[in-house]
Amino acid sequence: MKLRKASLSVLGLAAALVAAACGGNTGTNNPANQSGTLTVWLMNGSAPQSVVDGVNADFKAKYPNVTVNVEIQQWGEIGTKLDTAFAGSSPPDVIELGNTLVAKYAAAGALEDISGKKSSFDNSGTWLQSLTDSCTVSSKLYCVPYYAGSRAIIYRKDFFTAANVQPPDSMDGLLTVGQKLMSAHSSDPNFSALYFPGKYWYAALPFVWDFGGDIATQSGGKWQGSINSSSSQQGLTKLNSLVAALSRADKTGDEAKQDAAFAQGHIAMIIANGWEVGVITDPKAGDPSLKDKLGAFPIPSHTAGQTAPVFLGGSDLGVAAKSQHRDLANEWVATFTNNKHMTEMATVGGVIPNTTSMLNLGTGINATFYGAAKNSKFVPNSQNWASVENANVLPDMLVKIFTKQQAIPDATASASSRITTLLNGGG
């Protein structure tokens, strides 16, 4: 096994060297003379059309003979589509990848190593650390951070006022506030003070991290699941008590409908991304009248006055190793993520930009979410992480805990050994 892997990585290295040698030429040419077609895959809902049009216009001004086709891809089974596309002879040149997927494709040789080009991207010195981490595999850079998403608690200001409570500054305070809200709404059988669907593992991680726990740790190249460590269990115990006391959400469901549920008016708090405010108040799907009644505060730490680290979601932009126009593709990524367009992504798109230097762009309710990005963490950065996600290890563990099918020590122990196996490449 070891020998095989070693020889494969040598092959990969050789291929990368050859690729680098071939790719070098185009860069020295006059941009105006370069021609070709770039294919870009962006995910449905990631960038506003106006921003993409602006990027393409700027790119066209510099490379008049290059055609850029931006193709919006749908989410359903995107992993399958990416697998086959990378296996084919002509994958798209630029691909938006969810930040938890990058390591898998980078390690398999699907993405170009752009370590040497890092400085050519704006703000590369101040990229959000967690996003940079997601692009880094074996100390090499395989993608450019695109945008981030971080979670905080969205709450109903009017419910808080009526129950005479303030946003809490500690986890215990969160429980107290929630209990007061529960008793204020005791006549409503559908009321949740903190609506927490059982499979919502992104929102469970802050509790684990806040007590010093983690999903897994790496030492000497081997991963060891640590979701069963005593600090991890402490966090999950805290979360479990909050969910038991404050949530009537589906203990086996996921968070897909939480915004629509929130808009129905029987929920005081949800753990959510900044853009979910827009979904809640959307006139077609939600309730626009809630616009002035919504507030946000960071997930509090168990230490009063501090905040818990949150999971930093988001997307990165990678260039396919098989691309015929790698330099042009990187040029396009550089244009897309430059100061001008990243500012537009934040102001028009409403997402958290890829650099700490722009975190002050968040205003109003958004400021809370931008702030949360500063104290953020990421999942174990392993090529096999996608397998852990696809095997539903964490959601299944949470469901078992919340539904009391298993006690926390048992549920975490079996999840942890599964994580250890999967992260180290086992089935």
């Binding site: 992993g79 697998d83 398999a108 040789g109 499979k199 959400a249 203990k251 397998s387 696809n390 299944d396």
Partner: protein, 314 residues
């Protein structure tokens, strides 16, 4: 048998003079079909088997170079307790779905003979609408109807005083969850089978039934000894096709569980897909798919033999 009366006598056909000039004609007639099926599916099917003999992860897929492991993937599957559960579960699920589909469809088809025409129009319309609606759409609707908070089923059951189904989770308990999937799959399968059976029932000559009636046969006896044997070819083909479709069921469960079914809800088709695209073990996934086909061949062997036999006689 009444139905066979008008059938051409194929076995003796080649001996008739002037039936066709050359023996090559039938081969010429099937050659486009063979060309299409073989031309498009031979390579993928061959590659599927070849993949199942390789260690093939994402890196190998991108580089187009796997490691030969021979029967390794198959041995791994056979030693995998999860796989045994999945096989047994898929078989039980198929059995339940096929049995319910055929029984309910037969009952509805018989009922269609009894109801007045206006009612028949209504029932047939309903069947057609169900059949014509895309599966990916109907699964979305069912998912929503069985929703924990907003599901109309929970609301209906509660307001009909069947019990307290407010905030009832249907997929918490796998037995309940699988029952829901049986309902969804059978619901989707009933139109095709019912319409086919009803059409067949209309062709059962009424004099045969009447004769049985005169002989004092009860309704059940008339069905079991007169109607059912005549419909044997239809029963064979719908059972065979239903078995194939239900054993390979994927979309209903996969979409219903938000593309993230837990291991309790793996069918063999989902298991194969998950091993391939979930944990990027394409060799293992291919091996599971091959085993799926082998199990299906075993299970349907009897039907296929009978079906082809009936076709040969016809």
């Amino acid at each position: 048998m009444g139905l066979a009366i008008t059938a051409p006598d194929l076995e003796s056909a080649p001996r008739r003079p002037g039936r066709f000039r050359t023996n090559l004609l039938p081969y010429a007639l099937i050659s486009p079909a063979v060309a299409v099926i073989a031309g498009i599916l031979a390579f993928p099917l061959g590659m599927l088997v070849w993949l199942s003999l390789q260690h093939y992860g994402l890196r190998e897929l991108i580089a187009h170079a796997g490691d030969w492991v021979g029967a390794g993937n198959y041995l791994a599957i056979l030693a995998d307790p999860v796989f045994h559960q999945v096989i047994v579960r898929s078989l039980l699920f198929t059995l339940a779905c096929v049995a319910l589909t055929v029984i309910l469809s037969t009952l509805i088809a018989l009922l269609l003979l009894k109801v007045r025409q206006a009612v028949r129009i209504i029932v047939m319309s309903a069947l057609v609408f169900v059949w014509a609606t895309p599966v990916i759409v109907t699964v979305d609707i069912w998912q929503w109807m069985f929703d924990y908070e907003f599901g109309v089923i929970n609301y209906l059951l509660t307001s009909l005083r069947v019990g307290n189904f407010i905030h009832h989770n249907w997929f918490d308990n796998p037995i309940q969850g699988w029952s829901v999937f049986v309902v969804i799959v059978v619901w989707g399968a009933i139109p095709f089978v019912t319409i086919t059976l009803f059409a067949g029932l209309l062709q059962v000559p009424s004099d045969v039934i009447d004769a049985a009636h005169v002989d004092g046969a009860g309704a059940w006896q008339r069905f079991w000894f007169v109607t059912a044997p005549m419909l044997k070819p239809i029963f064979l083909i719908v059972t065979c096709l239903s078995t194939i479709w239900d054993f390979g069921v994927f979309t209903q469960i996969y979409v219903m569980l938000n593309a993230r079914p837990s291991a309790d809800y793996y069918t063999i088709a989902i298991y194969a897909y998950r091993e391939s695209f979930g944990v990027t073990q394409y060799g293992l996934g291919a091996a599971i798919a091959v085993v799926l086909v082998l199990v299906l061949v075993l299970v349907t062997f009897f039907y296929v033999r009978e079906t082809v036999k009936v076709a040969e006689i016809a």
